[in-house]
């Protein structure tokens, strides 16, 4: 008993019922679409989304392998020119005075003595790394950063390495924070040079934390203060809804 699409025949009453069923379904859909803004902006929905984001922070913490390295690239793979990205335009990047600059330390740190730029430049060993910067927007670019392992620096200043968070405050009023396992990752660098030059102002002079296992916005530039804490410090974008862990 073969039957084609065209040849569909069925009792009239059934057809009418179906039409009503479909129309009701369509109006329900239309209603959902019309009130879409209200539904998705409802406080309860927003709360659920934020809760899911915090859940995803935990899951990412479990997935994160502190020994797994981000891929490194040859110098020939470096993206030129490297894209500038911040919450302001390039000419608004903060001009930090090198002579008066002092890095402040706070929180669960034994030695809170501020660091001058010459002292930071004198840290050893300095290493270079060509890694991929992935932006939360989706694009990626490969760059070269040089500096010292952040984990070494944290040990040097007597940071409590069992604490949960490391927070950063920046000269451009930006702020962010990361988890301790990522802070101690061997590729997480406190960098002073970009593309073999002293960090240019748009790229974070005098100091940028380079984390190839996190999205770009988790890599603070123009750092003026570092603190170690167990209280969730949030961040500039994180407080507006971007996922806090944002690790790769």
């Amino acid at each position: 008993m073969r039957e084609s699409l065209k040849g569909q025949s069925r009792p009239q009453i059934e057809r009418i019922e179906r039409r009503l069923f479909l129309r009701r379904g369509l109006s329900l859909g239309a209603l959902a679409l019309l009130s879409g803004c209200d539904v998705t902006n409802a406080e309860s929905v927003q709360k659920a989304l934020w809760a899911m984001s915090r859940w995803n922070d935990r899951v990412q913490g479990w997935i994160f392998d502190p020994t797994r390295l981000a891929p490194e690239f040859p110098d020939s793979a470096i993206t030129m020119p490297f894209p500038f990205n911040a919450f302001y335009s390039m000419d608004e990047a903060p001009a930090v005075d090198a002579a008066s600059y002092k890095l402040e330390l706070g929180g669960l740190v034994r030695d809170k003595k501020p660091w001058t730029l010459p002292e930071l430049y004198g840290l050893q060993p300095q290493i270079s790394q060509v890694t991929r910067h992935i932006c939360v927007e989706g694009w990626s670019a490969i760059g070269k950063w040089s500096g010292v392992r952040f984990g070494d620096f944290l040990k040097r200043i007597g940071a409590d390495l069992t604490a949960k968070y490391v927070g950063f405050r920046c000269a451009d009023k930006y702020y962010t924070s990361i988890d301790m396992p990522t802070a101690l990752h061997p590729q997480t660098l406190l960098t002073f040079r970009f593309a073999d030059q002293i960090l240019p102002t748009p790229f974070g002079f005098p100091m940028k934390l380079r984390i190839p296992t996190k999205l770009g916005f988790k890599n603070p530039k123009h750092i003026v203060a570092i603190f170690v804490t167990n209280e969730y410090p949030g961040g500039y974008w994180e407080d507006q809804g971007y996922n806090w862990f944002s690790g790769s």
């Binding site: 084609s4 699409l5 059934e14 479909l22 989304l49 991929r132 809804g241």
Partner: protein
């Protein structure tokens, strides 16, 4: 539900019906929020209209995407596991041969594809549903690479690393959307398939009140 149980037969198991609608809902969220995420850094020379997207801005879209991700992962995994373990896939989707698919697609194009017996999928349907499952798996895997390009680096190499995975994810999305459009059009053309996806039951061909 089955006052006339003697002339209806169950064609969609409960697990399939439940996961079908959860998957449909989750895919709607994933696609709509995914388009908003795409718009933040388009791969091609176009953007999706804002009104078709979900989330309001990039951060909102990402929140939706990474919340619905769990829904699609759990429902999709349940569906695929059930389909394999219960033999549902083997019974309903196999065998499928290129020749049979070609024959049925050609028949459908001429409006002459048989839909008399909803218990049996024609070859075009089998290919489409198997294709949708494969596309879904590709979407999840490429999505994992985009979410965790370092942790899933080896998997990423299969699709051209992070940047390659962006294209894989995009084209798999496009293929899935194409599937959904065809799927919905076919359901509208053969509307008695729709209630079946809720009740799971279909009247036997030739039974009272039937065709």
């Amino acid at each position: 539900m089955t006052p006339s149980g003697h002339d209806t037969v169950r064609i969609h198991p409960l697990v399939v019906r439940i996961t079908h609608w959860i998957n449909a809902f989750a895919i709607l969220i994933m696609v709509a929020s995914g388009w908003r995420i795409y718009n933040a850094s388009p791969l091609f020379g176009f953007k999706f209209p804002s009104d078709w997207t979900l989330g309001g801005w990039l951060a909102g879209a990402l929140q939706w995407h990474f919340a619905a991700m769990w829904l699609i992962a759990m429902s999709g995994l349940t569906y695929v596991t059930y389909g394999i373990v219960s033999g549902h896939f083997r019974r309903k989707l196999l065998p499928v041969t290129p020749a049979a698919v070609w024959r049925d697609v050609a028949a459908a194009a001429r409006g002459k594809l048989a839909h008399g017996d909803l218990r049996v999928y024609n070859a075009a349907q089998r290919a489409a549903y198997l294709g949708a499952i494969v596309i879904g798996i590709v979407l999840v895997l490429s999505g994992l690479v985009l979410w965790k390009p370092v942790q899933f680096y080896t998997l990423g190499l299969l699709m051209g690393d992070y940047e390659g995975a962006r294209y894989v994810h995009f084209f798999a999305m496009a293929a899935l959307v194409l599937f959904v459009i065809i799927h919905v059009v076919m359901a509208v053309l053969v509307p008695r398939t729709l209630p079946t996806m809720f009740t799971g039951r279909v009247r036997l061909p030739g039974a009272a009140g039937g065709d």
